[in-house]
Amino acid sequence: MSVEPEVPIVQVEEVRENPVLYKIISSDNHVFTISEHAVKLSKTLWDLITNLGLTAENALDNPIPVENVNGKNMETIVQFCERHKYDEEEPEYTNYIREFVLPEWDRQLLSIDNEELFQLILATNYLDIQKLMDYCCRVIGDMAKDKTPEELRIIYGIPTDAEDDALERSASDSPGPSG
């Protein structure tokens, strides 16, 4: 039986001609390595790397802490970025782009429950990964197909106006932090 390291490290494959790897530490102390091409998909991370002056020589010695993203989401994000690092730029979408088909690999990757998808979107928004944001939103958009307002409320967790009012009333009735 292999012994699991104390802090799991997600390894990624990198092409020989571009061996520059960066280390990222998630909020729950999982360590991930990610290639230069992949990390460029995240505007936030790439700006950080550029501002910190990380180079091929010192990249692995200076892990980048990302406080707002947990290990589970970071793993998905790293997988996604590695998968799409050599993608050509996609054309600007117009409105109502249902004809765009989400690739099967990405659909599988994003077949997660709603809570996870919600958290992943927050992480993606923070890391500013446009493509992953597009794909996550596409998955959420697809959920609305053939759904009535009542079903949409359930699927998207939207409270009714009455529930909203009740929530506001109870919030205003409850004593503040000072008691």
Binding site: I97, F118, L122, D134, P149, E150, E151
Partner: protein, 630 residues
């Protein structure tokens, strides 16, 4: 050959070419080969013990459920192999004297007839340990068996998934099985004959139950299920049983149940998530009063699907960042955005904050008791956003589809909602009893569209005039398209008295048009008619519009001449373009020869042209920078 002295890279390469069963036999060679094989990279996987016939056990690796690949077989049938030598299979916990042969698919078969029951069970258990240690097989066992062979199973208390095959035993053995083994994940019944599950109550608490078919399932047993996921093939469960199940369903709001990941994805994804299934089904919501937990019930073609909203519970759509909202709404069709805007005042505000291209809308009334509301990007290219109907057979047609409330600022409507199978357009089945409430709804919907979707306030209509009374409250209309109708010119006049048509009237009428005989529409600025065979001289000469375009007419040359004469006299001051197709031969030279197309009263000039029965008359109203009228 000194295999063990080969470099590591060579070992990796060689083992890459070996089948799992060959790697397994290699691992039995010695402790060193066992260590060698275990050092290789093995994808973690589950295994399954298969017991589907007497005196034979299969051990398989499972990559996909029900797609296991047999790794090794052992049998305790009496010897059939004469001179085949026995040999010792040894590993850490295994020590077995047996004969080894290979079947047609090269799977090794261990012949061990002399072993007794307990030693067979020990071997099966030890073998699984070997697989876990060397091949990274998951420790949790899985079984696929006919229950008469239950006693051959290895030593364990817990099982992950169990597949029950056809068997001749009764429910008591089933109960015994579920008492002996704690099934952690799923029980799958592929039994085609009378299932032994019939009568058993022990398996009803397993978290996930999948049954190929369950004709035997009776109400008493059905109502006792207390699982997370229950998926069955054909049953004889009746509607009242389903209703009773829903009524007494004891959902636990503290536990996330019915999530569509494993094992639903493993075993039932084709049943419960088939897009075709979801597209055509009827939906309804059931709510539990005690804790407000809601469930989505769907039916289609004899299938009933109940899904508690715990799956949905944690999506906090409204708490997503603005960029995500923009992105998500980009993927929604206008009709989906509209339904989202009906969810609450917050979603209404959210949708209205998005960028909507200003556009016109059109109310379509082309058949009785149905109205469509469409957005128009190009004239005559409208896209229907929503349909509502007040047909009386609603209840008969839609049976148990629950009504729901569509509420917005000025809208409060209790209706059933379905979707057009082809276009996915939502259809509201409304119990409107009187005309005024229908008119109020149409007017309120348009206001909603104007406020939320930046639809232009000016309404447009496309209708058969017999449904005129259903139109929303308004005085002015931008464009009106008149379809075939059976009403007469009096109704047309009434329409044009009631509504001030600001821009155009388009007649798509092919039959006898009601416009024949009407004089109220002749002052509309733009009149476009598909065909106007009915158009007579008296009516024709009374047109006082900017642009008049007609399809085929029976207008004669002298009528055209009279029309142009009127213009030359200073009448028809608004006229810009007049284009008519006549079934009679029209010769422009006749007109050109008769007139100098320059009007004395205001100096306006005109151009007349003919081609192939078409007559075109264009008045130059504006002067360009060179002082030339255009």
């Amino acid at each position: 050959m000194q295999f063990l002295k080969l470099p590591f890279l060579a070992h990796v390469n060689i083992l890459k070419y070996l089948e799992p069963s060959e790697q397994l036999l290699l691992s039995f060679c010695s402790l060193i080969t066992r260590a060698l094989v275990s050092r290789m990279r093995h994808t973690p996987t589950y295994s399954v013990f298969v017991l589907d016939r007497p005196e034979v056990m299969y051990y398989s690796l499972v990559n996909l459920p029900e797609k296991e690949k047999t790794l090794i077989i052992w049998t305790w049938k009496s010897e059939q192999w004469g001179d085949v030598q026995t040999e010792r299979v040894k590993s850490k916990n295994i020590d077995l004297e047996c004969r080894i042969t290979f079947n047609a698919s090269n799977t090794p078969i261990l012949w061990c007839p002399s072993e007794d029951g307990p030693s067979r069970k020990r071997f099966a258990t030890a073998f699984h340990s070997h697989m876990c240690e060397v091949f990274r097989v998951e420790p949790e066992m899985q079984f696929k068996l006919s229950l008469e062979y239950m006693n051959e199973l290895p030593y364990t208390n817990t099982v992950r998934d169990v597949t029950l095959l056809d068997t001749s035993v009764n429910y008591e053995v089933v109960d015994e099985f579920f008492e002996k083994f704690h099934v952690k994940r799923a029980v799958v019944s592929t039994s085609l004959r009378d299932s032994p599950l019939k009568g058993s109550f022990k398996f009803l608490q397993v978290d996930n139950i999948f049954m190929d078919r369950a004709y035997w399932l009776k109400r008493l047993q059905f109502l006792k299920f207390d699982c997370e996921n229950l998926v069955t093939g054909p049953t004889e469960i009746k509607k009242r049983d389903l209703v009773a199940f829903v009524k007494q369903c004891r959902w636990d709001p503290e536990v996330d149940k019915l999530e569509y990941n494993e094992p639903i994805y493993d075993y039932a994804k084709y049943i419960v998530l088939s897009p075709q299934y979801l597209k055509k089904c009827q939906n309804g919501i059931v709510t539990r009063k005690s804790d407000g937990l809601r469930a989505l019930a769907t039916t289609f073609a004899g299938q009933f699907h109940l899904h508690t909203n715990t799956f949905f519970r944690k999506m906090q759509f409204l708490k997503l960042p603005f960029l995500a909202h923009v992105n998500i709404l980009k993927y929604l069709e206008p009709s989906e955005q509209l339904l989202l805007s009906f969810c609450s005042l917050k979603t209404r505000a959210l949708v209205s904050r998005m960028r909507h291209t200003p556009t016109y809308s059109v109310f379509v009334l082309d058949r009785p008791e149905v109205m469509q509301y469409s957005l128009v990007n190009l004239p005559e290219k409208e896209k229907t956003v929503i349909i509502w109907t007040w047909k009386s057979e609603i209840s008969a047609q839609w049976g148990d589809v629950k009504t729901e409330k569509v509420i917005s600022r000025d809208i409060d409507l209790e209706c059933r909602i379905t979707f057009n199978i082809v276009s996915n357009t939502p259809i509201l089945w409304c119990p409107f009893e009187d005309g005024p409430s229908r008119k109020r709804f149409a007017t309120a919907l348009h206001s909603h569209m104007c406020e939320v979707f930046r639809v232009e306030p000016e309404m447009q209509f496309k209708l058969s005039l017999e449904y005129m009374n259903e139109l929303p409250y308004t005085d002015t209309v931008r464009d009106v398209t008149l379809l075939d109708t059976s009403v007469n010119y009096e109704v047309v006049d009434e329409f044009f008295k009631k509504f001030n048509v600001k821009r155009a009237v388009v007649s798509l009428s092919f039959k006898d048009s009601p416009l024949k005989g009407s004089f109220q529409f002749l002052q509309v600025n733009n009149v476009i008619m598909n065909s106007a065979y009915w158009l007579k001289r008296s009516q024709f000469l009374k047109f006082d519009c900017e642009n008049l375009v007609t399809g085929p007419t029976e207008i004669k040359k002298r009528d055209l001449v009279a029309f142009v004469k009127q213009w030359l006299k200073g009448n028809k001051t608004k006229l810009k373009t007049f284009h008519v197709i006549s079934t009679y031969c029209v010769d422009v030279h006749t007109i050109m020869n008769k007139f100098n197309l320059s009007r004395k009263s205001d100096g306006l000039r005109a151009l007349a042209a003919t081609f192939d029965g078409q007559f075109h008359f264009h008045v130059f109203h504006k002067k360009n920078e060179f002082g030339v009228q255009t």
